[in-house]
Subunit: 221 residues, 2 copies
């Protein structure tokens, strides 16, 4: 049983092993290869993570959910899963890729993880696919609460780590009727050319929104 | 029944109408609004379209599937669906957005379509959500075969429409053993700075791949 170890770590056994083989076949081998399955698996993974995050973080804003998901589906995360599955040793590569150590290339590894997800879906159904993915991502998902600090906290911690001055928040505008106000807050960071602005129904949420934008400009993930 | 027309066109009736109301609530109103549902709906829509395209176009390459999906989920397409549903008249907008005609803004309309998709999923299940989406997108999906011309044909038609010279394809390299060759083809377009290259198990598929890349550089959708 060439794939028995893989099935064990996946906690999934393929009915149609040919699907798994296609998922492990790099385009350097010819056709069929795993490119179409990768397309499918990428979409499934994004959707599964969106559903899981939406449920687990019922207070998180859309920007926060987007950021958390990006961290779960980025290449680094996929490569971790590939290592967990020891996927490199099952890959089918053309001779050119084999000579140049293609089985260690992170792009090939991460694409294959997506292709395997697509293959599991085709071999079973969306619920099964989701439960396999959630199990595989267990460790990464359990790390998320640490990433859930609010934007103001993350901005402050980042600036402190860079030995930079802290941001100043100031109410810039208040719109709307007294019982439904919309606050616009300006966030100024010494050393950053332009201030950022954020809106919200409360002063606090407007500040968080402005901080989120500053994190974006500073490219802090 | 304020939503009876909408339910008819959607061919779906909400169990929990509050979910629909949230999906129709722009952030200018305050919280809760439709931003989280939009995040969820966007992921669902991408996944549903990936599944549908994967099934319907069993010969299409990954690049082709990606291109077709982009056309189905881009803002223009979502706005068409919003018009079909007459979504503008159901939207809940803050007074500022109302004054400036926010219900006609394409970004607000297209975001709301995604939010409604997210809400349908939460109100039912993935299968129901998929069948509602596939029905709504029926016309756009039926137009797809026209978009399915192969990359070489599309490149040629594009260059002709621009009164430009046609591309030249040339075999650049052949790798692999005689029974499993990998062709690399170079595609030169007069007026384009650099040639593009494509790989494939046959000369024809390598040419298509090189043409696809040229279409990307020329930004032809």
């Amino acid at each position: 049983m060439i794939y028995s170890d893989l099935y064990r770590v996946l906690a999934y056994h393929f009915e149609d092993e040919q699907l798994l083989i296609t998922a492990l076949t790099h385009r350097s081998v010819g056709t069929p290869n795993n490119e179409r399955l990768e397309f499918l698996g990428d979409a499934l993974l994004n959707c599964i993570m969106a559903k899981v995050l939406f449920e687990r973080f019922s207070d998180a804003r859309e920007g926060e959910l987007t950021r958390l998901r990006a961290n779960l589906v980025k290449r680094d995360a996929l490569v971790k899963i590939a290592y967990q599955l020891e996927l490199g040793k099952y890959l089918l590569l053309g001779s050119g890729e084999l000579k140049t150590g293609g089985e260690q290339r992170t792009s090939i590894l991460s694409d294959s993880v997506e292709a395997v997800i697509g293959a599991i879906y085709l071999d079973s159904d969306i619920q099964t696919c989701q439960s396999v993915v959630v199990k595989l991502w267990d460790k990464l998902l359990r790390n998320l609460p640490q990433q859930m600090k609010d934007p103001k906290t993350r901005l402050q911690e980042y600036l402190q780590s860079q030995q930079k001055s802290l941001p100043a928040y100031k109410i810039f505008k208040v719109k709307g009727s007294p019982h439904s106000q919309l606050f616009e807050v300006k966030c100024t960071i010494p050393g950053l050319k332009k201030p950022t602005y954020g809106n919200g129904g409360t002063r606090r949420s407007a500040e968080q929104s402005a901080a989120e934008k500053a994190l974006g400009i500073l490219n802090v993930k």
